[in-house]
């Protein structure tokens, strides 16, 4: 399959011009009814938006131009993300765009790139990520899903869990155990698996906010060709680790806490709480916590923008952003009093606000993507050089 040809050299534009282009494009095409959505939308809902972005060549800002991406510099990349967030665009099926794509570009074979990247762009392949298992959460390397070679195929058996939107995915990339005789990190491989085959069972898991987004995926004698191995056999841990640096800064974005803060401020105005000096004092404190979270994020973004690099200290962002976001929602529930016990939209004199949902939803932020505890362990050891 061929890669789309690039339409334009975005990096040659001024930042202001690029920002305007991005704002225009998103502003024109983001479907109104999906803006600032409370939940992860289904594929059927966002497919049109996905295809629109794809046809404009704006689907993947980060991939190189030769593979159909925009090849944006870090500075332009940030503008892209900022404008996308400002537009309120819904989250699409992005595991292929955000994770598998970069992995294939960095570690895949040219054949793998030619086969898979265009199909991500076209929406033909929708990927999910099979990492966690029931007994491998924080301790991911202890995963037990096994694969062994039978002729030219891997046969995979095991169970993955906390797989986002697996019910809409056509494919899964997964970490699997291919050698049980060595140190746990050394016996893991990175496999691509077609979900459309017997032996794959997806069970959605309802979360405490009432939504079904996470899944269990059971793999029972599931088969995948030998050439679906990315990187070498038993090199899966390195392949997966290469992805993490990028994720750590995104997972520390202040976006969620800013949204929560805006909601809290809207609530405060509608409910008359702004006349309550004690409440305003607490609101101000949390507001400054959110703004400081944004300042810290900007500091790392600036480093990226100017081509610098950073290490594990970026974990500070995720700890602070996610815990602050939780505190924002806790303050809202508390300030709402009796209304804070109700589910769904609560009428506040004409305008309605869902008070409880953000509180419940953001409980997950300090758990997924490396829990706050795991992040603290990393910082203690790798940044503060405290002894083991």
């Amino acid at each position: 399959m061929d890669f789309p040809t690039p339409t334009q050299d975005w990096n040659a534009m001024t930042d202001e011009e690029f920002r305007r282009r991005a704002a225009d494009l998103f502003g024109t095409h983001v479907p109104r009814h999906l803006c600032h959505l409370n939940r992860r939308p289904r594929w059927a809902e966002v497919k049109d938006w996905y295809m629109t972005m794809s046809s404009h060549g704006w689907l993947v800002p980060g991939w190189p131009v030769e593979y159909g991406g925009m090849g944006l510099s870090p500075a332009k990349f940030l503008i892209y993300v900022e404008e996308l967030e400002r537009s309120g665009a819904p989250r699409v099926m992005d595991q292929g765009l955000m994770n598998l794509g970069p992995v294939l570009i960095a570690r895949g074979s040219e054949a793998q790139r030619r086969k898979y990247l265009p199909r991500i762009l076209s929406g033909e392949h929708l990927w999910c990520q099979g990492y966690s298992e029931p007994n491998a959460g924080s301790d991911l390397a202890s995963l037990r899903t096994e694969a062994h070679l039978e002729g030219d195929e891997f046969v995979v058996n095991g169970q993955k869990i906390w797989t986002s939107v697996a019910f809409d995915a056509t494919h899964m990339f997964a970490l699997v155990r291919t050698d049980k005789t060595v140190k746990k990190q050394a016996g893991i491989s990175f496999l691509m698996i077609d979900m459309n085959q017997p032996g794959v069972t997806v069970r959605p898991i309802r979360n405490i906010a009432g939504h079904e987004e996470l899944c269990e995926v059971f793999l029972d004698n599931v088969r995948t060709p030998r050439d679906c191995l990315v990187g070498g056999l038993n090199e899966g841990w390195q392949v997966a680790k290469a992805l993490l640096g990028f994720e750590r800064i995104w997972s520390g974005s202040p976006r969620q806490s800013i949204l929560a803060l805006l909601r809290l401020e809207r609530f405060a105005k509608l409910s008359g709480k702004m006349d309550d000096a004690g409440f305003v004092d607490r609101l101000t404190q949390i507001k400054m916590d959110v703004l400081d979270s944004a300042s810290a994020y900007d500091r790392f973004a600036q480093i990226m923008r100017t081509g610098g690099s950073f290490g594990f200290e970026v974990s500070v962002l995720k700890i602070w952003a996610t815990e602050t976001c939780q505190r924002v929602t806790e303050l809202m529930v508390e300030a709402a009093g009796e209304a804070g016990t109700l589910t769904g939209d609560v009428d506040l004199g004409g305008e309605a606000i869902d008070i409880l949902y953000p509180f419940l939803e953001c409980r997950a932020f300090t758990i997924y993507g490396g829990s706050s505890q795991v992040q603290r362990n990393i910082l203690a050891k790798s940044v503060l050089n405290l002894p083991a």
Partner: protein, 369 residues
């Protein structure tokens, strides 16, 4: 003894699957279980013997409610027995009291109090519902909100205002002009919205005639119910913490039970500290209620109790999710049910912030005396 029988009941009857099925339904609790509680006499614990109750005190009530809280089974109790029962006891209409309290004690009647409006709040007199005098009695016009227990209520004690002050009126659940609808609370139980479109209350159904002091009895009942809701909260947080400690002892990551990680241990200890503070303040509040503490004194300890228990309960169950990790975030794992019940109990009858405000106001008055 009462604790043992309540604990036995909880052991035998706790069923979180049933609880999940009841979510979003009215009355939101299992009627058969409520009947059993009635048979065990628990609805009559606080009802004086003259009305066929047991005439026991808050210490006994707290024990039962705390135990039921552990199994998330307390739901119909506090709104009916404490809030409505104690409001009735202090009413001036003996015939109505006789009928309602004995029905309440036997479990055959389930009166509820409809006192809040708008966005809620602790000031019982901040209402707009009117009681307009007519030839046959009064007509009630207004809209009540946050009525706990409304799903199974056989009728409502409605507060309303007239020129002479606030009074309390009994309205049967099927009275013409009454409309009951529901908002749904975090744990899936219904919160009643009671609309009164000219509901007629004959003189025989006036519990407390309107006056400047018409709501004093209700205000005291609210305090008592707040302390008993705190007892339920104690049970909820105890069960939530126990479940978490159990998980920490058994869940293995990095080759060790996660409960052996010192950072998690210290987090758990901080939750335990909160639980024990809650237990201590609740104990003091119950003693004050049973010991007939004076108005200001009992109000202050009641606010301190509701405030601490609300904070401790929400914090413990919230952090229980974090200590469980991803599984705690799922609906199918039980710990989330405890968080949601804690949210409901925290907000009902004034949360920690509301009671801090009230405590500060009481302190200031007290200091002026």
């Amino acid at each position: 003894m009462l604790r043992d029988s309540a604990a036995d009941f909880v052991r035998a009857s706790t069923d979180h699957k049933r609880l999940r099925k009841l979510r979003g339904t009215s009355p939101g609790y299992d009627a058969a279980l409520a009947r059993q509680m009635g048979e065990l006499g628990w609805f009559g614990i606080l009802v004086p013997e003259q009305y066929s109750g047991l005439g026991l005190g808050f210490a006994a009530m707290a024990v039962v409610v705390q135990e039921l809280g552990k199994g998330l089974l307390a739901d119909p109790m506090v709104p009916i027995v404490v809030l409505a029962g104690q409001t009735l006891r202090r009413g001036g209409n003996e015939a109505l009291k006789e009928r309602q309290l004995s029905g309440l004690a036997s479990g055959s009647l389930a009166p509820c109090v409809a006192w809040q409006e708008g966005l809620g709040g602790l000031d019982a007199s901040a209402i707009e519902t009117r009681a307009d005098a007519t030839g046959e009695g009064v007509r009630l016009v207004g809209r009540k909100r946050f009525v706990a227990g409304a799903g199974g209520a056989t009728g409502f004690l409605v507060t309303a205002k007239s020129a002479r002050g606030c009074g309390i009126y009994w309205v049967e659940k099927d009275a013409p002009g009454l409309k009951v609808s529901f908002e749904w609370r975090a744990d899936g139980t219904p919160s009643g919205v009671v609309e009164l479109d000219g509901v007629l209350v004959p003189p025989a159904s006036v519990l407390t005639a309107p006056s400047a002091q018409g709501l004093l009895g209700l205000e005291r009942a609210i305090e008592e119910a707040a302390v008993m809701a705190s007892a339920e909260m104690l049970g909820v947080m105890e069960a939530g913490l126990q479940m978490t400690l159990e998980y920490m002892r058994n869940r293995v990551q990095f080759g060790k039970p996660i409960g052996s990680f010192q950072a998690l241990q210290h987090k758990a200890v901080d939750l335990y500290v909160q639980q024990e503070l809650a237990r201590a303040v609740l104990g003091e509040a119950v003693q004050a209620l049973d010991g007939g503490a004076s108005g200001a004194e009992s109000s202050m300890i009641a606010s301190r109790c509701k405030s601490r228990c609300s904070d401790a309960g929400t914090r413990i169950t919230r952090e229980a999710i974090q200590l469980h990790g991803a599984i705690g975030f799922t609906d199918e794992y039980d710990v989330g049910l405890y968080l949601k019940r804690a949210l409901v109990l925290s907000g009902w009858l004034g949360n920690a912030s509301a009671h801090r405000r009230r405590f500060a106001a009481l302190s200031a008055q007290h200091a002026e005396v």
